[in-house]
Subunit: 93 residues, 2 copies
């Protein structure tokens, strides 16, 4: 451990650790930039899908459902249907 | 617009639109996967940084600050310092 702040002379980070920290900052920021670019690409893709005449809210719902564990999702769905019947709103689900 | 649900016969999506919708779903899911992989890579990077002996909480704070508009950030910082002095806690900021 070269970088324990508070354990170096006068609470500064030594030169070598400083360079390493700077490199890490750059790596994190590059990954963050790539992630932001992908968020932007996804947003643009949904705009394209909407322009093609599709309902993106419905598609987002499908995407979200497919992200979930299938068995777990079907279990949750069955529970919602059970409650809907019990409460007389089965036409809504 | 080929895909207005509710405007096709019997509320089904026509075959061509269906194929297009399926392609869009795949594109969105691929982008989502890439984004999730980057989130994972960022998480791994911070683990590496922590293993190298650095305080990742401090580094995350620097990353967050650098994401902000600099002038706006300095303005906010000055305001916090002003309040800290007014409230006698300037040693904390």
């Amino acid at each position: 451990v070269v970088a324990s702040i508070g354990h170096n002379s006068g609470d500064v980070i030594q030169k070598e650790a400083q360079a390493q920290l700077r490199a890490f900052l750059e790596q994190v920021e590059n990954l963050d930039d790539e992630k932001a670019a992908l968020s932007e690409a996804i947003s643009e893709k949904y705009k394209e899908i909407k322009s093609a005449g599709f309902d993106t809210k419905a598609l987002r719902k499908i995407v979200a459902i497919r992200k979930k564990d299938k068995a777990k999702h079907l279990e949750e769905k069955a529970m919602v249907e059970l409650y809907a019947h019990a409460l007389g709103v089965e036409d809504l689900v």
